[in-house]
Every structure is written in structure tokens, then in C-alpha cells.
């Protein structure tokens, strides 16, 4: 075996330029795969974290039946006497914060332009404790109960050409279907970093929302944070056991971000196609190198056979050469890909250009941060070696099945 290893190792340096090109194609393929995976996982986690931290929290409590209709933001399924519910939720050790809301479909107009938008009536204090909304105000002030004022996304304000202090009109339907309107003043502009919120939401005090929607002492949801995203399922199970599920729909962030998760699952299939193309490129490169090597060394194969080398020794020799190329390429590709991904994890990648070209509502900031799992890097080295070995099988088999006399006759 040592003899085979020595021969295989030296043979890969025999045609240095060709081996270098093969090695580079493996390194680049593996490195790119690591970077792509890192960015995709980073994007996925970042967008879900952003969605959780700015919109859905770790879990939500709705009136029973609401989640079936949630896309239309119905006002038919409401929670009455919510103060007691929120107080009880806050007594649960696993619940850190909770905030009540009314989400409703609305139209925002300045008398000239109008925009279909989601209104969010919020308890200003609890919302700030839960989502730190006051910290996201980029201009103006936060809102307070009783004020007929709104917080508007800075992008929407720019769209309307409005500034802090300017008047706007909210048009909505009450709980009973009647059209209602309210003139409000822009108290402040926010930017929470989630385009879904920044471009599609405005906030107003809960009591004002309850008044215009005729929903006194009613809300549509309580959003809460537990200890961590990972513990959200356990929290959901606990809450569903503690509260009457005939009265409440209680779901975790996984349910609320299911569309996003589904999107990522579809994207991951697309990513698999990219992998496949990359791996075919690597494989073709190795196979080409190994076949060239077998043809060039035909007489040497004959010599080895005449010295007593068995067919399986020839097979092993070429397979090992492929394996070495895969291992070197895999290790270097993993180191370089890992280093670049680590850089992107720390410093991020500016994707402002993408956001401005069709990804405006994608729940992600202008900078994405890659994710890297050191343990998974080991698998990429294994993938490199496996592809190399598999690609070397055919050329090796071709070399091994030669007849010694034919091989020795080769010029």
C-alpha cells in the first residue's frame, strides 16, 4: 500500500500544469459551493431572524379561526378582554415580552396619491419593549396613546413626498364593514431594516385604531418573545396546553414564516442544480486528466504488469491519484471557501444593488451575512475526495483492463 501511495503521490506531480488545472477546478468548485451554501444559509437565517424580530416574534396568539384567514387581515376574529390575556402571558416564565396589536388593511392618502397598506394599531410601550420600535425611528418622534399620529416607513414617506408633521388620511373599513377615515399627522419615520415592514406598514396608537375600527377593547393578535427561536416550538406546545384552543389559535414563528420557509426549500432545490453543475465540471476535469494520464502511461502500465502488478493494483493506483487530487483540491478549496465565507459572516456582503432591482420586499437588509458551520466543512473535503474517486473509476478501470502485451506495445 505504501508503494502505491508513493507512486500515486509522485505521479500527480508528473504533469504539473495539468494536475494544477485539475486541482484548481476542484478547489474553485468546492470553494464556490461553500460560499454559495454559506450565503444561502446566512440569507435564510437572517431573513427569518429579521421577520421574527420585526414582525412575528417567537409566537403569536390569535382568536380561533384567524390563522385560516390571516392573509386578508380579517377583523371578524378578535380577542376581547386582551389585557387579562397579556398579563397572564407575561406571568409565564418562558415568555419574556408580549405586545398586542390590531392589523388591518387600509389605504393611506395625501389627497393626491394613495397607497394600499397595512395599518398596525400598537400599544406604544409594549411594542417598544417587544420590537424596540422607538429605536428604529430615523426622523421625528415615537407615538403615544391618544395621539392621532402615525409612524410611517421612510421609504413610503419618500414615495408620497411627505415629511414629519405632514398630514395624511387613513381610509379603512370598520369591524362591521363601514368605510371610515381619519386624518392623522406623521409623528415619525421608521426604518426597521425589513422591507416588508418598511414598505407596507404604518403604525398608530392602539386606542386610536380601536376607535376608528370600532373595536373597543379588542385586538387581532398578541405577539410574544420567549427565550429563543429554538425554544419556540416548546413554547407553542405549552401555550396550546395552557390556553383553550377553541378560543385561541397559538402558533410559533415557524408557522408564521411558512411561506418564506417554503420559498427557501424551493431555492434549495435550485441550489442543488447549481451543485450538480459544479460537481459535473469537477468530475469532467478529473476524468479528462485521468484518461490522459492512462493513455500517456500505457506502456508504463504494461511494465508494471510485467513486474507483477495485479489489475487491482493498477486500478488502485489511478484511483489514488484521483483521490489525491480530490483531497488536495478539496482541502485547499475548503480553506479558501471557508475563509471567504467567514469574512462574509463577519463583514457581510452589500446587496443594495439587488434590493433595488426586484427584491424590494424581500425580508432582508441591504447587507447579508453568511453562515459557516466548521463541522460541515469536513463534508466538503469528503465530497471533493468522493467526486474525485468516482470520476477516476472509469479511467482506472480502462487502465486496469489492458492486456500487458498491448500495453507494452504502446508507443
Amino acid at each position: 500500500m505504501l508503494l502505491l501511495l508513493k507512486l500515486a503521490f509522485r505521479n500527480i506531480f508528473r504533469n504539473f500544469r495539468r494536475s494544477l488545472l485539475t486541482f484548481l477546478s476542484i478547489s474553485i468548485g468546492i470553494g464556490l459551493s461553500i460560499i454559495i451554501v454559506g450565503i444561502l444559509i446566512g440569507t435564510e437565517k437572517q431573513s427569518i431572524r429579521l421577520l421574527v424580530s420585526t414582525r412575528i416574534g417567537h409566537a403569536q396568539v390569535y382568536a380561533a379561526g384567524y390563522v385560516e384567514e390571516e392573509l386578508t387581515l380579517p377583523l371578524d376574529y378578535t380577542i376581547s378582554g386582551y389585557e387579562a390575556l397579556v398579563d397572564e402571558l407575561l406571568t409565564i416564565p418562558a415568555v419574556q415580552t408580549a405586545a398586542e396589536r390590531i392589523l388591518f388593511p387600509a389605504t393611506l392618502t395625501d389627497g393626491i396619491d394613495e397607497l394600499r397598506i397595512t395599518g398596525a394599531g400598537i400599544d406604544a410601550i409594549r411594542e417598544n419593549v417587544t420590537f424596540h420600535l422607538a429605536d428604529r425611528i430615523v426622523d421625528g418622534t415615537y407615538i403615544a396613546p391618544g395621539e392621532e399620529k402615525i409612524l410611517l416607513g421612510d421609504v413610503v414617506a419618500e414615495l408620497f413626498g411627505k415629511r414629519v408633521g405632514d398630514p395624511m388620511t387613513i381610509i379603512a373599513r370598520t369591524k362591521y364593514g363601514a368605510i371610515t377615515a381619519l386624518d392623522v399627522e406623521i409623528a415619525g419615520l421608521f426604518n426597521v431594516g425589513n422591507p416588508e415592514i418598511d414598505n407596507n406598514y404604518f403604525f398608530l396608537p392602539l386606542d386610536i385604531a380601536q376607535k376608528i375600527l370600532e373595536m373597543e377593547n379588542e385586538i387581532t393578535e398578541v405577539t410574544l418573545f420567549g427565550n429563543s427561536m429554538d425554544e419556540a416550538d416548546a413554547l407553542e406546545t405549552y401555550l396550546n396546553g395552557r390556553f383553550d384552543t377553541n378560543i385561541y389559535d397559538i402558533v410559533s414563528w415557524k408557522y408564521s414564516s411558512k411561506d418564506l420557509l417554503k420559498l427557501y426549500s424551493m431555492k434549495s432545490k435550485g441550489t442543488q442544480v447549481i451543485y450538480l453543475i459544479l460537481f459535473i465540471m469537477i468530475s469532467a476535469s478529473i476524468m479528462n486528466t485521468m484518461l490522459m494520464s492512462v493513455y500517456e502511461r500505457t506502456r508504463e502500465i504494461g511494465t508494471l504488469m510485467s513486474l507483477g502488478f495485479r489489475r487491482r493494483n493498477i486500478l488502485s493506483l489511478f484511483a489514488l491519484e484521483g483521490g489525491f487530487l480530490g483531497a488536495f483540491g478539496g482541502v485547499i478549496g475548503t480553506i479558501i471557501g471557508g475563509a471567504i465565507t467567514y469574512y462574509l459572516k463577519i463583514y457581510g456582503l452589500n446587496i443594495e444593488f439587488m434590493i433595488k432591482s426586484g427584491f424590494e420586499n424581500f425580508p432582508i437588509g441591504s447587507r447579508i451575512y453568511a453562515e459557516i458551520n466548521p463541522a460541515s466543512l469536513f463534508y466538503f473535503i469528503l465530497i471533493g475526495v468522493s467526486i474525485a474517486l468516482l470520476s477516476a473509476v472509469y479511467p482506472s478501470w480502462k487502465g486496469a483492463r489492458m492486456e500487458p502485451t498491448e500495453a507494452l506495445r504502446a508507443v
Binding site: L3, K6, L7, R10, N11, F13, R14, R299, E300, G302, T303, L304, M305, S306, L307, G308, F309, R310, R311, E403, P404, T405, L408
Partner: protein, 234 residues
Amino acid sequence: MEIIRLEKVEKIYRSGKTEQKALEGIDLSITTGEFISIAGPSGSGKTTLLNLIGCLDKPTAGEVIVDEVRVKNLDHNQLADLRSQKIGFIFQTFNLIPVLTAYENVEFPLLLRHNTNAEERNKMITGIFAEVGLAEYMHRRPTELSGGQQQRVAVVRALIKKPKLILADEPTANLDSGTGKAILQIMKELNKKNNISFVFSTHDRMVMDFASRLIILKDGKIIKDINQDNSRKN
């Protein structure tokens, strides 16, 4: 002692519907310590005969018996083992493994046999390199050696495992006459000293004269089998 016997050996190469009879009705016996030259024009079957004797190929008909083993019934692995244990090869183009040093090339057949330790191998190899005057070139790669030096390494590689028989296909064809003669001299000395049989094919008159037995082939048949030692005495 007889180490090779060929009985009514025939070798036919087939390519599609075309048949080429390379050897026909060959009966041959080779005993220990013989120094045999196989001569004949191109296409007379010299290389084919060496391939059959060396178990690199099997006959279409007839029997090849190497040290009492009938080759016909052996599979690829058994043939490889037989070559590894009993037969050494020397080629016209030297055929050293270019990524190995001269020392490693010679060590190669010993490693395949797994019956020596590193110390024993080192003793054997350094001793034989000194014997053929290549001690200072031991750790050079083949590309750093002249043709004559490479062929001497090839001779040593064939000899190191102490085979019963060494086959050499036109071993001096790629060498100048002086170097070729020196190689033959070495082969002859090793033949006498180790009592190993040598069989080599050649076109070269000088090489033929070196042999103690000359077998001449024509159109795949042995037309002459001469004991030159006896002829010289007479």
C-alpha cells in the same frame, strides 16, 4: 533443470475477420543457466515468443509450462504472481518507472514480493548497484541517467528478485555498440554467477554471437536451434 517448456505452441492474432498466425508448432525447452538469443527478421515472432515465455500472453493452442506450472489454466492474478516470482524483464526502451529513483525502481519488485525487510532490501540493492558500477547513481531518477545506465538499472531490476529466468526484448537496440556490449557482458557475468537463464531477442549479429544457444525464427517457426558453445569448440 528445465524451467520452460513449450509444446506445440501456436499463437494467432485476430482482428475482425482477419487472422494473423504469429507462431506455429513451437516446441522449446529452456534449462537453468542457459544464455539464449532468439533471432529472426521483423515479424518472425520473436516478441510474441518472449511474451508467451514471460506469461504476458497465453497461446492460442499448445502448452506453456513455467517451472512445472501450466500457464493455460492461470487467471490474470496468478499470471501476475508467476511473473513477480519467477521472471524478470528487460526492455528495449528500458521502461524504468520515471517517478522513482534508480534505487526505488530496483526495490519495486522486492516490495511486490513482500518477503524482505527494509534492511535486507537495502543490503541487496546497494550490493548489486556496486556490482554493476552504478553505486553513485542510485538515487537519481531515470531522466538523470544515460541510456546505458538506465539499461543497467533495468538489468539490476530484473535480477534483484533472483528469478528463474530473465527475458530481454532487444536489450541493446537503443544503445551504441560499446554500451550494448558492456550490457551484454554484465548480463553474461550475472548469468554465470547466479545461474539464472537469460533469453533475449535481437537483430544484432554481435548480440547473437554472445549467446551460448541461438534460436532462429522465421514466419513463426523455429528454423534453427544451435548450441553455439559446441559450434565454437568444433
